[in-house]
Symmetry: C2
Subunit: 319 residues, 2 copies
């Protein structure tokens, strides 16, 4: 990737010890605006053939400097970008970026919040795609940091990445997981796995939830899975499809453990329908989280007979 | 890979519809002897630095034709091969190959059986390693077919690769799995995942076992995981280590589901020790399966109060 983008990514990564702060939001906003500048300045938009009903996709393609007359561009192509969710105009983005920086989405519709966060996720991922071939790790780590930041600010605590397990034959055991948010005694606890897309490996998410339920009892940890998208681009045909396995998810939800929410930046409609099956899985756009956050936090307090729900806009105190 | 090796692999693959037959054993023996010939004829043995107590490893390296005087060989290097388990002499292999072809290991010690099967697995994997860079899929598929064959002959039934799930809201659901062996009514059923190595993805094995338990009740399907090895080669330093996560396995065995056996071709001692922890996990060399097969099969019949154990050498009838 361009040295400057790489440098910004390194700065972001080294700032994860303050992932819950406004300063971390500044890093994320800065790298997003920079990525958008790179995409607009060095790439062209390639229309894609969307086989996903109701969604339009395009890709960024680098205007390769070595391109010769009469030859197709050999520039790298980004992952598919959802036209209805991506805010490509930096000036338009600037008008709403304050909501993200201030962690205050009250002035935006949930749809607008989802667009804002989709753009924050996708601008860097696409800029990295056109800069480096086959790099899956950098976008995954970026997305995890970004989602970790958002939830850390909303919950007011730093996440952990390890579950303590009652000691096994005098050996202390721990299980590395995705994010764990512990809001304190008599408060909700959350298990928050983050994925760019799920595919067959997603069973790990339900299995980790099962381990948490086994250690702490059903319901003590709420499981919230956050995913960017399930799109897949066929580079030969330029066709975009969504890879979804809704029946398998239902099997995991029935027999392995229960997840409380799945939030997508780009929601596949076949998963959204799972809220009306048994056992239901509530799949929503991430923008909706901010309107139901209090209910998710106070659900556990309710079950203890404690005061609830918390006022809609009351932030949980920093720990 | 050399056209002839590739051709033999394709023939093997297209014969999987008869995976339970003696003919399939012929294909496996043939490709093993051919691989051994390639390794002995075109490769040199490179000693490796084993950091695994009590085990010695080497690798095959292709004598690259483009090698120039004074330059280190640029030939591809195979995965680590356990000196104590690999039968590199084709004449020595020939003397015991009949046990595999006839599926009759009674004349061999369990250690000798493990060596025989280790060689059947490793010869092709190593030959493919030196022929193709970064091909993970071919060895994995080969090993899966080989293990599927061995258990299909022992159990006398063809394996399936899908679990039927009670229909979900009028939609029939199925879960793709590794091998499922159904020995018939009032007989044992087995869930048999097969992996070249496990690492963090292994939680899927326990989660699938959990789904089976959820559908059919605890104990109806015995879970048997079969793994080649956990070695990892550092190409720069030539050091071989074993990557093991015994405490994580104990967590899965405690909270997700119970596996009945884990068989290795090259057993890591840190996993073998798990038989003495709680909950115990019985980890053994694959050669031991043949001496305890009857007990594994009759365990379920016992719990039904049916005649058992089956006589040691009574094969289950072909379905």
């Amino acid at each position: 990737m361009p040295p400057s983008l790489s440098e910004k990514y390194r700065s972001l990564k080294s700032a994860t010890k303050q992932i819950e702060t406004r300063e971390f939001a500044d890093y994320l906003a800065d790298i997003t605006e920079y990525s958008l500048g790179l995409l607009n300045g060095t790439c062209e938009e390639i229309p894609l053939v969307s086989l996903v009903p109701g969604k339009e996709y395009f890709a960024f393609r680098h205007r390769s400097p070595s391109r010769r007359a009469g030859q197709a561009s050999s520039g790298r192509t980004s992952r598919p970008v959802n036209r209805g969710l991506f805010i490509g105009d930096p000036n338009e983005l600037k008008t709403i970026l304050g909501a993200f920086l201030g962690a205050n989405y009250g002035g935006l519709t949930t749809q607008r919040t989802t667009q804002l966060l989709y753009t924050l996720a996708m601008a860097f991922c696409a800029a990295n795609d056109v800069a480096k071939t086959g790099d899956k790790k950098t976008p995954a780590t970026y997305f995890e940091m970004m989602i970790g930041h958002i939830f850390a600010r909303e919950f007011g605590v730093k996440p952990g990445k390890r579950v303590n397990v009652p000691s096994v034959e005098d050996m202390s055991a721990g299980l590395p997981t995705d994010f764990i948010f512990d809001l304190g005694p008599k408060q909700a606890k959350f298990h928050l796995p983050v994925k760019l897309s799920t595919r067959e490996r997603v069973i790990q998410v339900w299995a980790h939830q099962r381990v948490l339920n086994g250690i702490h009892g059903e319901g003590r940890f709420k499981g919230i899975l956050v995913v960017l998208t399930e799109t897949k681009l066929n580079l030969r045909t330029s066709e975009v499809v969504e890879i979804c396995l809704p029946l398998q998810w239902t099997v995991y939800q029935r027999y392995v453990a229960r997840l409380d929410r799945v939030y997508y930046l780009d929601v596949p409609s076949r998963y959204a329908m799972l809220s009306s099956t048994f056992p239901s899985i509530t799949v929503k756009a991430l923008g909706e989280f901010f309107t139901e956050k209090s209910a998710l936090i106070s659900g556990y307090r309710l079950s203890l007979g404690l005061r609830c729900p918390l006022p809609e806009n009351q932030k949980v105190g920093m720990v």
